[in-house]
Symmetry: C2
Subunit: 213 residues, 2 copies
């Protein structure tokens, strides 16, 4: 009986990691994947924004032109996409479905607009919101990055506040006070989610039916 159960492969978890621009999603995500053992696959996003210094094609993002991106939207090849401060960001569908069906967990790091679309399509995903310790600190981070004009900074702060108010659509909120702490919190959340009753109850009701046969 035990052998049979271990052959049953549950569908993987779709983990959606999001939060306001500038909160440090990319840094925490890198810490999660690099600092220790993990059992999930990272889904690389696609974007039309310019590469920043140090970013690499196919590692940080797939960088595409506006035309290429819009072609994929038209062909229904995106799980989600969003336009944010003039650029598209999105998640190609094919890779994700393949990994989930293999029973692997897939980790998406995406913008808040896109996360709302995924919530509609995959309500049983695990939605994790990364939040700044406070808004003054978020502002300092965006300014310190040195990539945005002052108009864009104000716009980002306005959007960030709206996004924090959307936190209620998520399952979890993790504060990014220290990158290493935030990464551990996210890992704990994912570990615990595997044991949610609605994900495993079918397996146990089957066990009872078999015992009584």
């Amino acid at each position: 009986m035990r052998g049979e159960r271990s052959r049953m492969k549950d569908r993987g978890l779709l983990i959606v990691f999001s939060g306001p621009s500038g909160v440090g999603k990319g840094t925490v995500r890198k810490e999660i994947f690099e600092a220790s053992r993990h059992d999930f696959e990272y889904s690389i996003s696609m974007t039309t924004r310019k590469k920043r210094p140090g970013e690499m094609e196919g590692v940080d993002y797939f960088f595409r032109t506006r035309e290429e991106f819009e072609e994929m939207i038209k062909n229904g090849q995106m799980l989600e996409y969003a336009e944010y401060v003039g650029n598209y960001y999105g998640t190609p569908l094919k890779y994700i479905n393949q990994k989930l069906n293999e029973g692997k967990d897939v980790f998406l790091e995406i913008e808040v607009q896109g996360a709302s679309q995924v919530k509609e399509k995959v309500p049983d995903g695990v939605f994790i919101f990364l939040i700044p310790p406070d808004l003054d600190e978020l502002r300092e981070r965006i300014v310190g990055r040195g990539t945005d004009s002052s108009g864009v900074i104000e716009e980002r702060m306005r959007v960030a506040q709206e996004e924090i108010e959307m936190m209620s659509l998520y399952d979890y909120a993790v504060v990014n006070d220290e990158v290493a702490f935030a990464a551990v919190r996210v890992k704990d959340i994912i570990a615990g989610e595997h044991f949610r009753v609605d994900r495993v109850i079918g397996r146990y009701l089957k066990m009872i039916r078999e015992y009584n046969q």
Copy 2:
């Protein structure tokens, strides 16, 4: 601002750990509390059943007479209680409320009947169900304990199956294949639960109000 937030003390989590009789709740609970660091308080249950070899008053249970137990029920001093195979099991209310109000997490290890009562009174508790790898193994454990007559064993198996069907009332189900693994799973669940949005969202909406003042 950061100092102010750290002074805000959230109410602790009520963690309800239950499962069929014989599944190994006590062993896993001991592993959780003894094997490594933990931040929660254990609420010792009260029972009218006889002490088993090795069990200690005030450590494993508070052992009370039937009359004493019924007096506490009458006085509304129990969060929950259940009668199970001829004995009362229950949780005194006072200690729990005190610890939760101090912001500490409280860990209850209780019978399934009692857990259902707690679910009604404290719906935002964290309900974790410990489940045997399979029912044949559960039967072996109960037989191996050597404390029950064959009639009681059959009754326990019948009750266990009913209880597993009640799993849908719980938030999480953890299989007790290896005590050490089960303990880690329970700890991961508790760690992750602290970040559930409905537990923390109020704090963040307050942050936005303060930023805009």
